[in-house]
Every structure is written in C-alpha cells, then in structure tokens.
C-alpha cells in the first residue's frame, strides 16, 4: 500500500518538513524521560502484538539512532586497568618497545617442505609434465570427473571470453550478477533438486562464510570432531555455542543432541537456531557420513543441517550429484548443501544449495558473497557445461568408481598401511600402520568425550614428524617411478586437532584401468620399500 512511497518521497519534501517539527518535539520529550528505554522494553514485552508496541518501537529506533550519532568517537579506555602515564613516560615506553619480527624466516625443514611442492608446466590433467621435464601420472589433482582439459568446455570458455571478457569487475550487488552466473546457479539447483543455489568465487571461502551467515552468537552448532579447516574457521567467526561429536559417529551425535535438549529444557532456554555441521566425505580422511541417519536425527531434534560436500559433489552418486544421490535422499532435506565447483566441476568457486529463502538470506548476509567480485563468467559457463556433461554421461562416474575400486583393490591388501577412507571415496588417504595399535580409537572405555571440547576422550597418538618424513619418502619414491602423489598438507599448529599424517591419492575418471593399476602398484612398491626399511 505504501510501497510507492519510496519513489515519491522526494516530492513529499514540503510534507516532510511539516511532519518533522511535530516528530522532533515528540522525540526529544521522550528522550528526556530518564530510563525511557527500560520502560519501552518493558511495555514491549508485556504487550506483544499490541499496536502500542509498534509505536513505541519506532521511538526506540529513533532514540537508538540518536544516541549512536552522539557517541561516534568515544575512546574505549578500560578504566579499571588504565594506567596514567606522563608524556615523557609514554615516549620512553615507545622507545623501549621492540616488536617481534613480522615473520620468522623459514627453518630449513620448512624450506624443504615448500620446495617439495611439485610444479606443473603446461596443462593440468591426468598426465601433466613437471618442471623437471618428467611426464607423470597425476594422482594429486582434484579432477575426479576428468573434466579438466575437456575440449568441449574449452570451446565454451573461449566463446564466453569473446562475449563477456574475463573479469566481472564487480560484486554481485553492483552489476556483477551476469546472466551466466544466474544460469549456473539454476543449473546446480536443478541438478541437485533444490529450490535455488548461490555461487561463491572460491570453494574454500564458501562454507566459512555460509556458517556465520546463519549461525550467530547464542545459536548452537553441533559439529563433527573431524571437520575441515574451512568449517572450523566458519564456526570460529560465527561465535555460536559449539558442541562436538565424535568423528563420523552418529551415535555420539545423538548423545550430544540429547544432552543439549536436556540442558535446554532444564534452563528453559529460549528457542534459538540450531545447526548440525558436518561433511559428506571428509576432507581429512575420506570417511563418509551416513546421510539418511543424519537426516533422521536432524528432523528428530529439529536442527538444520549444513553439509559440506566439497569432496563428494562430483565424485559419488550415479551422475556425481553427491551423497544425496548415493543415498537417494532428496537434496531439499539438507538445509544448506555446500559444494565445490572447483573440485566437482573442474572450474573454480563454490556453491550453497537450499531453499529459496536460505539462498536469498545469503545474498544479503554472507560476507564472502556480498563483499567479493563474482567469478569470471567464462569459469561459470565452464561449470555449467560440466553439469551438462555429468548429467548426460553417467559413464564418467561409473568409470571413476571402477578406477577407485582398482586402486583400492591393490592397496587394501597392504599390511603396512591403513586406509580410513570409504571404499567409494575418490580421495584416498593412506596412514602408516603403527606397530602398536594406538591408531584405532579405543572404544568401550565407556565414558563419552566431553562435547564442549573438540578433543576426543582418547585421542589417537602418532608421531607427526616421523610419519611425515616417511610419507614424503614414499611420495619421492613414487615420483621417481612416474606417479605424482602428495602428502595431505596440513597447517600444523593451526588446526584445532592435528590430523594424522597421510598420503592423499585423488583418483580421476580420466585414467584407464591400466594406469590405475600401474599407479597403485607403484605406490604400493614405494610404501613397501620405505616402510619395510623402517622395521
């Protein structure tokens, strides 16, 4: 009824000035009443849905604006701890102060670590050339579907380049919403079967921005102890109350959910938003979540589910739709389904799929979306083309799964290692089997872990330094035989729980069975050679 007001407000200038005088007097009188804010709040809570409440809220808002403007530059000195110094003392203190260096130079080990990073010369793909001149079988790239280097995608990308240029030169709010972005969002939503989807310019930043867009201070997040770094950072930013459940243990999840419900009941806590945050296939070790059970729990305890499918989207399911396809669960039952366009569709960026409202909310509130330029149009079109290809070529995923089976068939038999990853995971992690079976998380000791701490009750023990060194030897050995693999690189000291050192194989549909066999055998031989020496 009054929406036309915005467009005519300028023409209403005379009216404004008339209204202004009366409003100003009202406002000022109200401000002068001591404790007016308290009274207002009291009235507000006791007269819910009362017309009077609405009017008072208005004045409150005006009051808030007023005070905000008054106190724009107030120094926030903590009076209790503030020590008064004279100018001279301050100068001395300033002179005396010596800061630590901005960054310590790298230690020789760190230097070596950095130098061991392989560099590919020319195109990325299953058989790239390294800067050493060697052509290798590449089991590091997250090119699960083998779309990297696809000629059809290249042609589309070039076509798009010639129509759109490269950069979008603006955030989505300011002329950075290009039709091809809208198209890709639509394609992804349609592919997964959700109402809508939203695109981010980087896969990593997607989830760490999605979580704080929804979860705020006072909300509750229940998360897996093994979540990846991006999720940890998202949780940190959100400032929500966090409870942790044992890694990939839905029984533990249920216990935690029950505990929270009980506690909330006891405290008569007000209704807040509650989220379960976990991954489809875990980036850390490749284990897979039991999605149907997870969905059941979420409905039972009335949580919203934020599921990170950065690894599983594009690598499991009949056509690569991820866990929801694999378990035949409607994707619409996952409230926020986050995936990586970079991994799954061999382009760049990430997405979050969900209901219309969930997506709309992010368009206004998610900082990595709002405050960042949208992705280059040609990469968006490449991804759309990727969706098309996946949709129409189920053989890609069956080949991928076949390749994974081939590799696992050879490595699973080896007794100097353990493989925590799910048999369908295209990301295969390899742990060194320690002589003493400390790796297995001891169960049956009875007591559950403390849900307020990310650390499990009986953390597995391992010697990071030795294991990393051995694994690097395996990597080097495999490389000498023409197979490029990598250790899972970790930010040691920054992760909330240290991940166990592992070798990370990324299987791709672009390999032939022969190549998979060859690579697996090379890795096997390298493992046997390096780990055999150890004993």
């Amino acid at each position: 009824m009054s929406s036309a007001m915005a467009s005519t407000s300028a023409n209403l200038e005379p009216l404004f000035s008339f209204l202004s005088t009366s409003y100003a007097t009202l406002e000022q009188t109200f401000n002068r009443i001591p404790g007016s804010a308290v009274i207002a709040r009291y009235v507000k809570s006791s007269h819910q849905n009362d017309p009077g409440r609405t009017l008072l809220e208005l004045f409150l808002a005006a009051f808030a604006i007023w005070t905000l403007l008054q106190s724009r530059t107030r120094a926030d000195k903590d009076d209790r701890h503030f020590i008064k110094f004279t100018e001279k003392e301050i100068d001395e203190l300033v002179n005396e102060w010596t800061p630590e260096p901005l960054a310590e130079p790298l230690s020789p080990e760190e230097q070596k670590e950095l130098e061991s990073v392989p560099v590919i010369v020319g195109a990325q793909g299953p058989r790239p050339k390294l800067n050493t001149g060697k052509t290798v079988l590449n089991f590091t790239g997250t090119n699960f579907t083998g779309l990297a280097g696809n000629e059809g995608i290249k042609e589309k990308a070039i076509e798009t380049l010639r129509k759109y240029g490269l950069g979008s030169c603006g955030p989505p709010g300011f002329y950075g919403t290009v039709d091809v972005h809208v198209q890709l969002e639509h394609d992804i939503a349609d592919f997964l079967g959700t109402e809508d989807a939203i695109l981010y310019a980087q896969g990593y930043s997607t989830i760490s921005s999605v979580i704080p867009a929804f979860a705020k201070r006072g909300d509750i997040i229940v998360a897996d102890r093994g979540v990846n770094f991006a999720i940890q950072k998202g949780i940190q930013i959100s400032r929500s109350t966090v409870r942790w459940f044992d890694h990939n243990d839905l029984k533990s999840l249920e216990d935690v959910l029950q505990g929270i419900a009980k506690e909330r009941k006891k405290k008569k806590a007000p209704l807040t938003k509650m989220f379960i945050v976990t991954e489809g296939i875990f980036e850390k070790d490749g284990v897979m979540t039991d999605l149907p059970k997870l969905i059941e729990l979420k409905y039972k305890y009335k949580y919203r589910l934020i599921l990170d499918e950065s690894i599983s989207f594009g690598s499991v399911g009949r056509t690569g739709r991820g866990l929801t396809e694999l378990f035949n669960v409607p994707a619409s039952q996952v409230d926020m389904l986050v995936g990586s366009v970079a991994n799954g569709l061999a382009s760049c960026g990430g997405f979050c799929a969900g209901s219309k409202y969930v997506v709309y909310h992010q368009r206004i509130n998610s900082s990595a979306f709002v405050f960042s330029a949208s992705m280059p149009p040609l990469l968006s079109v490449s991804a759309s083309e990727g969706v098309n290809i996946l949709r129409n070529t189920p053989s890609i995923l069956s080949t991928l799964q076949e390749n994974i089976r081939t590799v696992r068939g050879i490595l699973d038999k080896l007794d100097c290692i353990t493989i925590p990853s799910h048999p369908a995971s295209a990301m295969i992690h390899i742990y060194i089997r320690t002589p003493t079976p400390t790796l297995q998380i001891p169960t049956g000791s009875g007591k559950p872990s403390n849900p307020t701490s990310i650390h499990p009750r009986d953390p597995p023990t391992f010697d990071i330094e030795t294991e990393e060194r051995l694994l690097q030897d395996v990597v080097d050995e495999a490389l000498a035989q023409g197979v490029l693999i990598t250790r899972a690189r970790r930010l040691r000291g920054q992760e909330m729980v240290e991940a166990r050192p592992s070798i990370r194989l990324a299987v791709s549909a672009a390999f032939s069975k022969k190549e998979c066999e060859k690579a697996a055998n090379v890795v096997k031989a390298a493992l046997v050679k390096v780990l055999g020496k150890r004993r």
């Binding site: 007001m5 467009s7 003392e89 901005l102 950095l114 020319g122 997250t142 070039i158 970079a342």
Partner: protein
C-alpha cells in the same frame, strides 16, 4: 551528435584512405592493437542487433581521421585520440598531504534525512503489524514454526524488508556481456514493489560508470583476451587442486614473479579470491598477543581476517593520523589489556584507496609514524593498484615512496586488471612464511590459468616488456617453485623482464612497448579528476581525493537514492550507477558512487555530468559552497579544470 550512418561512412572513408596509401595503419598512443581484431573499423563498433542501444554509446561523437585507427571495440573501450585528455596521477613532490575535509550539507537536509528514516521505520512497522494480522502466511519464515527458530527474525530483518526492499531495484541488476565502458542490462521489472522481479526480455545498453574496471581491461577483444584464449587452448580452465598439493602451475610462478616486479617488492604470492587474500592471510601474520590497528572504514574481508587471527583490534577514526598517533601512544604504553605485557607486534591495516569514500591513505605521515612507533604496515591496495601513480603501481608510486618501506602490500586483480583474485607482496621472508601458514595456500583451490593469463598480460602491458620477447624456449626456468630470471631486472618501476612471461604469450607491439598501458593510466587520471572536479563545480558535495577514480556524490535523503538511480537509467543515454547507504555508509551519508574508467571518453563523462546536472536540480542535491560553473563552461574548459591547482581540502 553523429548518427550511426554518418559515422560508419566516415570510418569507411578513413580506412580506404589508409589502404590506398598502402600502409598498415600505425598505432597512435590511444590505440590498442590485437592480432585477432582486424583493423577494419566495422569490427570496432560491435553491436548486437537485439540490444537496445543509443548511438552515443555505440559510436564515438567525433568520427576518426585517417591517422586514427582504433582497434578496441568502442562499447568496451571508448575511442579517444585527443592527447589533451590525459593526465598523470601523482602527488606533487614536497607538498604535504592536505587533510580531507568532509563537507556537511545544510541543516534542513540532515533534518529531512532523519525524518525520512523515521517515516520509513514507522511505515515499516505499520505494514508489519497489518501484515501479521491480515496475511500471516507471508510472515511464516520470520517467526518460530514447528519448533524451529526462524533463520532471521522479523526484527532482525526489518531493515532489509522494509527499507532496503524499497530500493531493491537499484541492486543486483542482472547484466550480460562485458563490464566495460558500457554494459548491457537484462531489463527487469517488478509488479509487486520489488518483492519479485521478472525479465522483460529486452536488453538495454547503458553507460557503465559503476564497475571496478579502472584501467578498462574488461574487454572481450584485444591483446589480453587473445592471450587468455591461447591459454585456455593450452591449459584448459582449471588448476585442479590447492597450491601445496599439486595445483601449482608454471603460470603461478610467472605471475607471482611479475607481481613482485610490478609492486616493487621482493616477493609476492597469489590467492584465487580477493576477499580470501585478506581473510585467510592476515591470520598468518598476527595472532594472540598482537595488536591490529585498523581504520574504521576497512573492508569486510579485513575484519573477517582480523577476527580469525585472534589478535586484539583497535579502530581509529577514518584516515585521522592524529587519532592514530594517540591510539598508538596509548596502546604501546599500556601494553596488552589487563596484563600490561608489551605487544608482540603491532600491525596497522589501512586501504590505499577507500572503496566507499574515495579517500587516499596518508602514506607519508604513516611512514613517519612507522619510524617512531615501529609498527608493521599493511596496505590493502584493492582499489589503488593500477589506478594510482604515474606508473600505475599504487599509492607508493603515487606518493613517490619506496614500496619496500611498506611491509605488506596487498591488492586484488578484480579491479584494475579485469581478472579475479588477489596478491600479497613483501619481503621474501614474510611471503614465504605466508606460503607455509596461510589457509588458502594449503586448502583453497589455486587460481585458474585463464585468470593468471589475464593478470600477466594486463600487468605486462602496463609495465612494458624488456627486451622484446625472446623466441620460444628461452624463458626462465622454474626451480623449487620459483622462476629463475636470466637477465638482471630493471630497477623499480621498470619494465617486465621478458624471461618471466610465458614464452607463448605473443603480446601486440603497443602492449609490449607499454604505450597502451601508459595511455590507459593517463586517461584514467584525466577522467577521475575531471569527473570529481566537475561535479564539485556543479555544486554537488563530493567526497574523496581529486585523483581517485572512485567519486562519491552525496545524496543524504534515502528516498532520493532510488530516484537518482532510476532517473539516470531513464535518461537519453542510459547510465548505470551504484547507490550505497547504511549500513555500508553512516546513516545520513547515502551516496552515489561513480567508478571512473580509462575506457570512458571525455564525451562519456560529459554525458554523466549533464544527467547529474539535471537530476541535481530536480532532487535538490547541489549544496556545496564555493564557486559554481555552468555545465557548458565545465565541458568546454575540461582541460583547464583538470590541470588547475588543487583547491579542495585546503
């Protein structure tokens, strides 16, 4: 104004003359050559039949002469051969930086602005109230239901629903094509007061003074696009993987070496998203026990990163060096809160050019303070790199100081370079430390080859390449993840050594020689100064530095924002603008933010000025004190206006 027909015939005649003389036309400094675009002029006036476009956007007002052969597409990068319309972006040596004074509007403007907000809030509440009773379905997602708390409560979302929604037609306009000098809008309308939009199917070309396309590198034709095409053929579109786990390409090493040269720092590192450059790298530099001193108007990505780092944060008043010094004195003398232990380190984070204000950081004073207070300095050059300085190297170049006196120079490629992502540069020790500690290096996808190529090509064309590109095979080798340069480099701000460019990259001569890049810089400098000063002479309140390509024009009243936007879009030559309001700015200072580009011609700026002049009268926006010029006087004395000594901020 010339018509399309007369323009085309003039162009044809010019072409014929050139061909009759049997010479391939030479590049004037204004021009860019490209291997794929022939020099025949029809190609340079690309227009889709289906796009509604006015002649002023498709064809230059002045037909070219026989000497001038433009190879850029006029709608992407305007044709402007007049060497008068050039300027150098540089701080006059030896003069102090004048403090920026923000002009206040007359009192009645402030007053009506407040009242407008009060009315908007009042109406919003009345509507909420009635809707709750008469149409509860609409509120379902805002109130608890089935035991779930709402994602946003009706109270939290009040501002978006009742205030922002009124002007939602100004935001997220769907577009298509190149975000260059012009942009094509996929026209949309709303039948339900902005709740939903539907597409009319019409495509409308509009003058684009909104994109962060400072140097005009958003182009689908030209040397950069050609290089990108070649890179897609060679590399595909993805780097597949993180930098530390097999996603590092030779292109990364080359781009990083080039960025380090360009910025004038020892080393540099690249991240696939500008936002993430701040949000994932600041935590690698500071942590518990450190203090971050941050300008109150710093970008969201900086706040995100600082919050993740766990360091203490103090804010100081925007660009106020006295406030900063006071704060430093207090912080250093008091030490850490409660314990009073000395800070481990203090990092000051400012932006080179502030994206909402157009203000420039006071670098000379900051460096003075740095000597005394021993803090580390981090400058986010997202908007200033490429856009400022005689060589386009950013604020350090603009003020003529050694870039290495600044610890960390960060920037993004989304703006001046028409690409995506960001970089961090500094000493080798610092950058290496970031390589092993930053979140994105270990866990985020690496930058893609087409983007890397755009960065390399555009950056090299600003720098110029020395010497001529060698023949294939002799480029620098990559050892230990780094490129080893063969020749000793030219001192800063020198040209790009050819050995660090990909051997297959065949840049056209105007780009290799740096003439095209220089011309872009000089066009941008002229356009920026011209728009900002002209708007002031028209009587508008304009914020920011004269040399800033970001020109905010103050509107104040919230209702006028949408009107300004709509009127600009409906003017003879449609113009798209960006309006920003609370919470991106303080409540009262709603504004239009122009982003000038090298792709604009003087005629384009005139078009903007004309539209503003008219709208400014209609909406009563001309409140600035000082001398006023008429529109005619301004447009005919543009060069004098630009070259005038600075009067503002005196």
């Amino acid at each position: 104004m010339s018509t399309a027909a007369s323009y085309l015939s003039a162009v044809k005649a010019a072409d014929a003359r050139a061909r009759a003389r049997g010479e391939t036309p030479v590049a004037t400094p204004a021009l860019s050559f490209s291997s794929s675009v022939t020099t025949s002029s029809e190609d340079t006036i690309l227009d889709d039949g289906e796009v509604v476009s006015s002649d002023a956007l498709s064809y230059p007002t002045i037909p070219p002469t026989s000497e001038q052969v433009f190879s850029t597409v006029h709608t992407e990068f305007g044709h402007c051969a007049n060497a008068e319309y050039r300027y150098t972006s540089q701080h006059p040596a030896g003069t102090p930086v004048k403090p920026h004074i923000e002009q206040d509007p007359p009192y009645y403007v402030l007053f009506t602005t407040y009242v407008s907000y009060i009315i908007l809030i009042l109406f919003g509440h009345v509507r909420d109230f009635t809707r709750k009773y008469f149409n509860p379905g609409e509120f379902k997602h805002l109130i608890p239901h089935d035991g779930y708390a709402p994602i946003t409560s009706d109270f939290d979302s009040f501002y978006t629903r009742r205030l922002k929604a009124r002007i939602d037609d100004c935001f997220s306009y769907p577009v298509t094509g190149v975000a260059g000098r012009t942009i094509v809008l996929n026209e949309r309308k709303s039948k339900d007061y902005n709740r939903t939009f539907y597409s009319t199917g019409r495509k409308v070309r509009a003058l684009n003074i909104s994109s962060y396309n400072y140097l005009g590198f958003a182009q689908a034709r030209g040397g950069c696009a050609d290089a990108v095409e070649e890179s897609i053929r060679r590399y595909g579109v993805s780097a597949c993987g993180t930098r530390l786990e097999g996603g590092s390409l030779d292109l990364h090493a080359q781009a990083e070496a080039l960025v380090a040269r360009f910025i004038g720092q020892e080393d540099a590192l690249i991240c696939s998203m500008g936002f993430a450059t701040n949000s994932t790298i600041i935590p690698a530099l500071v942590g518990k026990g450190c203090l971050v001193v941050s300008d109150e108007l710093n970008h969201a990505s900086i706040r995100f990163g600082v919050r993740l780092s766990g360091a203490n944060v103090r804010m100081f008043k925007h660009n106020d060096m006295n406030a900063l010094e006071d704060l430093l004195k207090e912080a250093i003398s008091q030490g850490q809160p409660k314990t009073h232990r000395p800070w481990k380190k203090i990092l000051i984070i400012v932006e080179g050019l502030f994206s909402m204000e157009g203000t420039m950081t006071n670098l000379p004073v900051l460096l003075e303070l740095k000597k005394k207070y021993k803090f580390y300095l981090f400058i986010d050059e997202a908007h200033s790199v490429g856009a400022l300085g005689p060589h386009g190297r950013g604020v350090a170049d603009y003020f003529g100081v050694d870039p290495r006196s600044i610890d960390i120079l960060m920037g993004t490629f989304t703006k001046s370079f028409g690409a995506a992502g960001g970089y961090i540069s500094g000493s080798k020790a610092v950058v290496d430390r970031i390589r092993v500690r930053s979140h994105s290096h270990a866990y985020a996808e690496a930058m893609t080859p087409p983007v890397l190529t755009q960065i390399i090509a555009s950056m090299a064309s600003i720098m110029g390449v020395a010497p001529a590109l060698p023949t294939h095979g002799s480029t620098g080798t990559i050892t230990k993840g780094r490129i080893v340069e063969q020749e000793s480099p030219e001192p800063y701000p020198g040209r790009a050594p050819a050995s660090i460019l990909p051997s297959w990259m065949d840049l056209p001569p105007a780009m290799r020689e740096g003439t095209e890049g220089r011309d872009r810089l000089r066009r941008l400098a002229f356009n920026s100064r011209y728009l900002s000063r002209a708007l002031e002479k028209l009587g508008f309140i304009v914020y920011g530095h004269d040399d800033s390509p970001i020109v905010p024009l103050l509107i104040f009243n919230p209702g006028k924002m949408a009107l300004f936007h709509r009127l600009m879009l409906q003017s003879n030559t449609p113009i798209v603008i960006v309006v920003v309001a609370y919470p991106a700015t303080p409540l009262v200072t709603s504004r239009v933010r122009f982003c000038v580009s090298a792709a604009h011609t003087k005629a384009d700026i005139d078009v903007v000025l004309k539209a503003c002049d008219w709208i400014g009268d209609v909406l009563d926006l001309k409140h600035a004190p000082g001398e006023r010029w008429s529109l005619e006087k301004i447009t005919s004395n543009a060069v004098e206006l630009v070259r005038m000594e600075s009067q503002k901020h005196a």
